[in-house]
């Protein structure tokens, strides 16, 4: 892929005094247990993947799975022990400090779990902070920051201090700050985990709306599988530093690669996650179809009732109204109630 914005090639991050030496001796075959016995902790174990322009990759894993470490390697908040990371073709690990700062000032934005706002600055000043660090004139940076305030819907609160805002509002500031320099790459480290469930849902919707407008290249970290399914173009599931599976949500739900991934997918209500596209059959007999046509991008839940009232298979169409597949009502029943579900 030439348009890969982020590209990782067998990235390792191992904490400990003689991590480098141990890694060389292991020659690519890293076993977390033997490392631990020697006083090293494996954070990221042989991660290789690409993120295309405009794509949202969600990295999902429980605490201690190395997902945040992976993100910090790619933003170079920590240096990877081994491997190669390319940002738009640039070798990240070979960058000098100055170049790295330039890269962060212009290309990267990051949102943090605990918001990480500066307590001594107002909302507006917090958002303008990266701009001012960059050396942009105060007036311009304030204007730009004001646009951002409006974008995340905090108008009227721009002169509040972080201590005067609720968690959801604080994270809006965090989001606005990370977007202020108009970065191409957007890192979000469990941005909604510290919020109440209802606020979280609201913020996810807001986030999807923003992404619809902005179309950034995104790496999104979460420990919430439902959140991953809702937001992701592709999901990477991590365990003990290893990426267990990296695929689209539908494929992960339908074909979990390992027992570990299966544990997550088992409880997922498929009709709420899968699109028609994921369960349709190839077209074999165009004539023997009912009159109903459904878009391939519909979530099953939304059209299930309609399909189930039909007796024959239903045509599935794409954006151009072309028939690309068929769905028989029994398939829907099978998806929702049958399958490998216990």
């Amino acid at each position: 892929m030439t348009d890969a914005v982020i590209k990782c090639e067998s990235v390792y991050k191992i904490f400990g005094a003689n991590a480098k030496k141990m890694l060389q001796e292991a020659s690519g075959n890293v076993d977390a247990k033997t490392f631990q016995e020697n006083g090293c902790i494996v954070g990221v174990n042989n991660a290789s993947f690409e993120v295309a322009k405009g794509e949202m990759l969600v990295v999902m894993g429980l605490s201690g799975s190395g997902k945040s470490t992976l993100l910090r390697c790619i933003s170079r908040l920590t240096d990877a022990t081994d491997g190669k990371i390319f940002i738009e073709g640039q070798d990240l690990l070979s960058l000098k400090n100055k170049e790295l700062i330039e890269l962060r000032r212009n290309k990267m934005g990051m949102v943090f779990q605990s918001f990480a706002l500066l307590p001594h600055k107002t909302v507006l000043e917090n958002i303008a902070f990266p701009l001012q660090i960059k050396g942009i004139k105060t007036e311009d940076s304030i204007n730009k920051a004001m646009d951002m305030v409006k974008l995340v819907g905090l108008d009227g609160r721009e002169n509040y201090f972080p201590r005067e805002l609720s968690g959801g509002q604080q994270q809006r500031v965090g989001i606005a700050r990370s977007l202020a320099v108009e970065p191409d790459i957007w890192f979000l480290d469990e941005p909604f985990s510290a919020l109440d469930p209802l606020i979280r849902k609201e913020m996810q919707d807001e986030f999807l709306r923003l992404q619809g407008v902005l179309k950034k290249t995104i790496m999104f970290i979460t420990h919430d599988f439902d959140e991953a399914l809702r937001l992701a173009d592709r999901i990477a599931i991590m365990k003990d530093g290893i990426i267990e599976q990296l695929d689209t949500p539908a494929k992960i739900v339908l074909n979990p690669a390992t027992e570990y991934v299966k544990k997550f997918t088992e409880e997922v209500p498929r009709e709420k996650v899968l699109k028609i596209e994921a369960v349709m059959d190839p077209v074999d007999d165009v004539k023997n179809l009912s009159d109903l046509k459904v878009s391939k991008n519909e979530i099953i839940e939304n059209v299930a009732e309609k399909i189930l009232t039909q007796e024959k298979s239903v045509a599935v169409i794409d954006e151009n109204n072309k028939i690309v597949g068929t769905v028989h009502p029994s398939k829907i029943i099978h998806t929702v109630f049958g399958g490998e579900k216990k």
């Binding site: 933003s75 700062i101 962060r104 000032r105 990051m110 990480a116 706002l117 500066l118 002169n159 890192f187």
Partner: protein, 717 residues
């Protein structure tokens, strides 16, 4: 056997005590032993043994090595002294330009450096002092005495007291609000009316120089320690010793290097005030959440921006608490530094105490205490003040404080000008009320003291005699009766049982240093006085703290009282006890007890308060009585924190014991006082100070190690 397995620690302790007492009884007191000629006294006596090491001849009374170790480190103070002397007077002579003589003169490098520092300090102090009080030395520094004689107008006039008072009130109002502003106004009026203006301003000018400098150095060193593990490791032991070394002891080497006077006092104040600033800076920077730092980095901050725009502002509160500490240390040093000739309130206090004029001392002490409270509240208010948004305020709202102050200056100057016509005899009461023209209740107080003496003399004397003959003397004898080897075994054994081999080595090393120094006996006396003080303080503190903790209001009240008492410079405590008990060991001990009870009470309350409410509820639901809850739940959980209080109590008690030498004791403090008036006392003072610090550090190490283990065991943070 089963008991042994169940309580292994208990048996270890028992075993240790058995050995200790066995040693005590096995080693007899040598017939020639007499306390006063404990060991090395640098006097010539044919009964003494001598040895020479590193060119220093050490004389000492030889005893059985098991009874008292020979002072193998006796050469150290002499050597330190000689080295200082060499550094100052002989090392690296160089050519320096002499302003007065207008020619190059050969001078040793260190002497030149210290003289330059001294000169700049003197200049700074004079500058501020003359802004506050008037004078011409600053102008002289830029011109000459001749020039001043020809131009008598060029003298700084000095701010009228009304302006300084108004400034303080406005600042307090801005920082905290009405309450503090009123208090500031009252303090200022008190100072002025009672004729303490001049010494107060002298002390203030001293703080205005020492505190900012300490802040800058402390902050920079704190940042360096934050950035580099190596710097931190190098600083850490120094910080520990400095925090436990009596401030009083640091005066001596400073005097050798920088002479006597305000400048030397400023420099030594900085030495004492910088360590807490470093610690709090480090603490504050460490407490900045890692995500905030990462946010700064991802915003593209370089190292400088990260430090100045992210780390320091986020750690603002801790750093300002550091400033509070710096100010308080500076203030208490400003008082103690009177011993090496710093002018101001401390000087007056010292004079009054020397003349046994308790009334005058009381007035100066009251003044010191009030300023201490004011400074403490002001700097705390600054630390706790949250920033407000100014963008939408009008010009007047924004600058109203500045405008008010400008108005106050105008009015003050006008008053002072009018005053020159109004008052006769060259006294302008609107500018400054001279010391002898202010109100004074000194006579009243003195009469009060006389009355107390006349009325209660018999009672007090009986109490005094009883305490000395029945409690203090036997206790002291017991301490001195311990053979050095037995004490060392006890200390090392305790270290081993509590903290393992590492702790044993640390405390053993510290104790050995004292044992090999020439002042083991004196150290024992210091320890005995401190022990007595600590036991009494802890008993009082524990009781008072526990009782007060039962009620929300008393808790609050008691903590406020502790806050206030803690701000008083330790020296002030000597005044009332001298008033009541005269010049005896009892006075010192009572001052020690009063002073050291503060941390004991505070930590007891804090410890009990830190017991989680859920546990409270759980206990109540199990149907315990209040007393059962206290014994079974609250005390065990609060105990580690309370032990930290004991630790503080020990440090406080030692400080006070040392200061008590001023009244007259026979411990290390007395020697420090002697070293102050000894031309060659620099080395002695330093080693004596280190000895006191080491006594504190032995207890500190044992208690902290135990507390950490216990906390881990209980799963508290």
């Amino acid at each position: 056997m089963e008991l042994l397995k169940k309580y292994p620690k208990l048996f270890q302790w028992l075993f240790l005590l058995v050995i200790f007492f066995a040693l005590c009884f096995a080693i007899d007191v040598p017939e020639t032993y007499k306390f006063i000629r404990g060991q090395a006294e640098f006097i010539k006596d044919p009964n003494q043994s001598t040895y020479t090491l590193f060119g220093a001849e050490v004389r000492y009374y030889a005893f059985d090595t098991l009874w008292r170790l020979p002072p193998l480190l006796g050469w150290l103070p002499i050597w330190v002294n000689d080295s200082l002397f060499f550094l100052l007077n002989e090392w690296m002579p160089m050519e320096f330009w002499n302003e007065d003589l207008q020619e190059y003169r050969t001078r040793p490098l260190v002497l030149q450096i210290t003289r330059n520092i001294t000169a700049s300090m003197t200049f700074l102090i004079e500058l501020i002092r003359e802004i506050l009080l008037g004078g011409s030395k600053t102008v002289v520094a830029f011109t000459s005495w001749d020039w001043i004689d020809k131009n008598p107008w060029a003298e700084l006039p000095g701010l009228p007291w009304t302006i300084v008072a108004a400034g303080a009130v406005i600042l307090c109002y801005k920082l905290s609000g009405k309450g503090l502003a009123i208090f500031a106004g009252l303090v200022m009026i008190y100072i002025s009316v009672f004729g303490q203006w001049k010494p107060s301003m002298q002390t203030l000018s001293f703080i205005l120089v020492a505190a900012p400098l300490s802040f800058i150095f402390g902050l920079s060193l704190g940042i360096m320690a934050y950035k580099s593990k190596r710097v931190e490791k190098a600083l850490y032991p120094l910080l520990l010793v400095m925090q436990t070394m009596p401030q009083y002891a640091v005066l001596v080497p400073a005097m050798v290097l920088f002479g006597i006077g305000d400048h030397a006092a400023v420099i030594i104040t900085m030495v004492v005030a910088i360590p807490p600033m470093i610690l709090l800076t480090l603490l504050g920077l460490r407490a900045v959440p890692s995500e905030v730092i990462e946010a700064g980095k991802m915003s593209g901050c370089n190292n400088w921006q990260l430090m100045t725009k992210v780390l320091i502002p986020t750690a603002r509160r801790d750093i300002l608490i550091g400033v509070n500490q710096v100010i308080m240390v500076c203030f208490s040093m400003a008082v103690i530094a009177a011993f090496i000739g710093a002018k101001g309130l401390g000087w007056n206090l010292l004079l009054a105490l020397n003349q046994l004029n308790i009334g005058l001392a009381l007035e100066a002490g009251l003044c010191i205490s009030m300023i201490a409270i004011l400074l403490d509240k002001m700097s705390l208010a600054w630390a706790n003040k949250q920033e407000d948004y100014f963008g939408n305020l009008t010009f007047f709202q924004r600058y109203k404080n500045t405008l008010f102050f400008a108005g106050a200056v105008l009015i003050g100057v006008t008053f002072a000008y009018v005053g020159t016509f109004l008052f006769k005899d060259n006294f302008n009461y609107f500018s400054e009320i001279p010391h002898n023209k202010g109100l004074s209740f000194a006579d009243f107080w003195n009469k009060g003291v006389d009355w107390i003496w006349d009325t209660f003399f018999q009672t007090l004397k009986i109490f005094n005699t009883w305490l000395i003959t029945e409690v203090l003397q036997p206790m002291r004898a017991l301490y001195l009766r311990m053979p050095a080897v037995a004490t060392l075994v006890l200390v090392i054994g305790a270290g081993y049982i509590i903290g393992g081999i590492r702790s044993a080595f640390t405390v053993g090393g510290l104790a050995l240093f004292i044992a090999l120094s020439p002042w083991w006996d004196r150290a024992l006396v210091t320890t005995y006085m401190a022990t007595f003080g600590v036991i009494a303080s802890c008993t009082i503190g524990l009781t008072v703290g526990t009782l007060c903790q039962q009620n929300k209001y008393t808790t609050k009240f008691m903590l406020a009282v502790c806050d206030i008492f803690q701000t008083f410079p330790s020296f002030v405590y000597l005044i009332p006890v001298m008033m009541l008990f005269g010049i005896t060991d009892t006075s010192v001990l009572i001052a020690v007890i009063v002073y050291a009870t503060i941390p004991a009470t505070r930590y007891t309350i804090e410890g009990l308060r830190s017991v989680p409410p859920a546990l409270h509820d759980a206990a109540t639901m199990s149907g315990v009585t209040k007393f059962q809850r206290l014994i079974n739940i609250e005390f065990p959980i609060a105990f580690p924190h309370m032990m930290l209080g004991v630790n503080q109590t020990i440090v406080f008690a030692l400080f006070m014991v040392i200061i008590g030498a001023f009244i007259g004791t026979e411990d290390l403090g007395q020697y420090i006082l002697k070293a102050l008036s000894d031309k060659k006392g620099g080395g002695k003072g330093l080693i004596l100070g280190i000895c006191v610090a080491f006594i504190a550090l032995i207890f500190d190490n044992l208690i902290r190690t135990w507390v950490e283990k216990r906390k881990k065991h209980l799963g508290i943070d």
